[in-house]
């Protein structure tokens, strides 16, 4: 699939102006009706360009999760087309679906870590099952764990980690093969505000390295403080799609500080999530 750019992560490639290439996500009149007759999505149109950082918000049951499932072809649209990098994934054969998913990292509220494997093995697992070589695994896994700030915990098991750390492992697993698109479904749903900011900063850092990031959340207040593009769904329709300009080029630190200010938590609340991030080579 021509989805993946050449390995440019970490090389600070300037963001491409939107619209030159096909948007990485494009939905045209997408409708999803579940077998019971419930309409989860109703003629949704939206386009997300490469390198964007987008929030998808809305109350429970508004169709956010349905939308995410559609993007990874867990579900097929009832009507309309879902295009990833210009390609209609509704027309993908069963055989091509794994290839699509290799190009999309996914992070979920419940982490989905394997409890009987260490942090290292959990992240390596994602590479093993797509048939990566051992050399590749040995190179990518420590590097990704360093990126998410878990270098010291590689031999811990998930139940020995805090919620925030577990979510970092899951982000590492989603990002370890450097997909051009990362979907995070309520990544901070189970975490306290300070830890949430840490995860958001991490996702932002990944975004700054060139990966398109879509974060799903039901927390409208938080996204108002983010000043990022926000797409809001309500009862299966897009009711708001706005870009808050002026902050697109801020550093991870600025991003984090502003979020903390917006959410009313101090910068010293959680050293684990802040300590390493400021001077990371990616920011």
């Amino acid at each position: 699939m021509a989805l993946r750019k050449k390995k440019d992560h970490g090389s600070e490639e300037p963001r491409r102006p939107r619209g030159r290439r096909a948007p990485i996500i494009e939905l045209n009149d997408v409708t999803k009706v579940y077998p019971g007759g419930h309409m989860a999505l109703d003629r949704v149109n939206l386009a997300i360009g490469r390198g964007e950082f987008v929030f998808l918000v809305g109350p429970t049951g508004c169709g956010k999760s349905t939308l995410i499932k559609m993007l990874i072809r867990e579900l097929a649209a009832s009507e309309g087309s879902v295009k990833i990098a210009g390609r209609d994934i509704g027309k993908l054969s069963e055989k091509k679906i794994p290839q699509l998913r290799r190009n999309i990292g996914t992070v979920f509220q419940d982490f989905k870590l394997l409890p009987d494997r260490t942090v290292y093995d959990n992240v390596a697992y994602a590479l093993q099952v797509i048939g990566a070589s051992r050399a590749e695994i040995r190179e990518q896994v420590p590097q990704t764990l360093r990126l998410v700030g878990l270098s010291t915990k590689i031999h811990s098991y998930p139940d020995e980690l805090s919620g925030g750390e577990q979510q970092r492992v899951s982000v590492a697993r989603a990002f370890v093969n450097h997909p051009p698109l990362l979907l995070a479904d309520e990544p901070s749903g189970n975490l306290d505000p300070v830890t949430s900011i840490g995860i958001m900063q991490l996702l932002y850092r990944i975004n700054k390295a060139g990966t398109t990031v879509v974060v799903v959340t039901h927390d409208r207040e938080m996204v108002d403080n983010m000043r990022r593009r926000v797409i809001e769904l309500y009862e299966g329709r897009v009711v708001r799609d706005e870009v808050s300009g002026g902050y697109t080029e801020e550093s991870t630190t600025e991003f984090g500080l502003r979020m903390q200010a917006g959410m009313g938590v101090g910068p010293d609340g959680d050293t684990r999530t802040n300590g390493h991030s400021d001077h990371d080579h990616l920011s």
């Binding site: 990874i72 055989k95 794994p98 290839q99 699509l100 998913r101």
Partner: protein
């Protein structure tokens, strides 16, 4: 290469985690294979015996002791005149007794008889085993209960009847044993399937993660397939070990004194061939068991 190692690691990990059901599946496979391993030689021996009897080309007709030489000579002519009769041999009382003597191990039984209870007889050979019935009909035109063509014939030694009897017994035995074996195969199929199903259930998170990161369908399936095949492999090996021990400790010493067991060694398929069949069968059954379960319960 790395993949294959990965598949086996995953399969063994799952087997360990589901110890009890895996063991149940293995034990059922062992029982099934052991039973099959005993049934196959038994069937073959029984089949061989009844065919051996049936394939003999001759019928013997016992004669009354008071028949005169002239009557015997004319009956011989008459028998030789029947179509499809190839040869008619007269077996005298003494000759019959000598044959009996030579066949028995314990000669004293014959010596204690003092008199010769065996009759004179004619051994009538047909040109083909298939024509034996026609020959018999010619001798007994009104059926076996009716009158024969000559008053000096007392009764036929009907080998056909004895082969029918052997066949009746073995076919009844066959039906019963086949049903039992079929049920056991079904049970081990289902138990292997159940083991895999449980494994899918306990590993649903792995499956979910594999799907999310884009593992292919067969990449996800292989460990489960291997798990099922390992059950068949271990079960088959254990069963063959049990059969082999049984053969060298029970069957081999007995076959010296029991003719039927000895016959099995020469006329039926050898132990290595039997082992190969059983081994293939156990792997086949476990593969089918896990394959069907994967089709039904692992939607990837």
């Amino acid at each position: 290469m790395g993949r294959i190692v990965f598949f086996f690691q995953e399969a063994l990990r799952a087997l360990k985690r589901n110890g009890a059901p895996s063991l149940a599946a293995i034990v059922t496979t062992v029982v099934t294979v052991v039973l099959l391993g005993m049934l196959i030689p038994i069937f073959q021996t029984a089949q061989g015996k009844s065919e051996e009897v049936r394939d003999q080309l001759n019928v013997q007709y016992a004669l009354y002791d008071d028949a005169t030489k002239a009557e015997i000579a004319s009956l011989k002519k008459e028998l030789e005149g029947i179509p499809h009769v190839a040869e008619v041999t007269f077996v005298s009382k003494t000759a019959a007794l000598n044959t009996l003597k030579s066949e028995l191990k314990d000669k004293t039984i014959v010596e204690e008889l003092h008199t010769n209870p065996l009759p004179n007889s004619f051994e009538v050979k047909a040109d083909d085993a298939a024509n034996l019935a026609a020959v018999q009909e010619a001798v007994y035109p009104n059926g076996p209960q009716g009158k024969s063509i000559s008053p000096i014939i007392s009764n036929p030694f009907d080998r056909q009847q004895s082969s029918d009897k052997i066949e009746q017994v073995t076919s009844a035995l066959k039906v019963v044993l086949t049903v039992i074996t079929a049920l056991l195969i079904l049970a081990s199929l289902m138990l292997v399937g159940n083991t895999i199903r449980l494994s899918i259930y306990t590993r649903r998170r792995e499956v979910e993660v594999m799907r999310l990161v884009g593992a292919t369908r067969w990449f996800i399936r292989w460990p489960f397939m291997i798990e099922g095949v390992v059950v068949g492999l271990v079960g088959g090996l254990l069963a063959i070990l049990i059969l082999w021990l049984g053969k060298i400790t029970i069957v081999d010493p007995l076959s010296d004194s029991i003719g039927v067991l000895a016959a099995q060694n020469s006329t039926t398929l050898g132990f290595p061939a039997l082992v190969a069949i059983l081994f293939a069968a156990s792997i086949f059954v476990s593969t089918i068991g896990s394959g069907l379960t994967l089709r039904r319960f692992l939607k990837v």
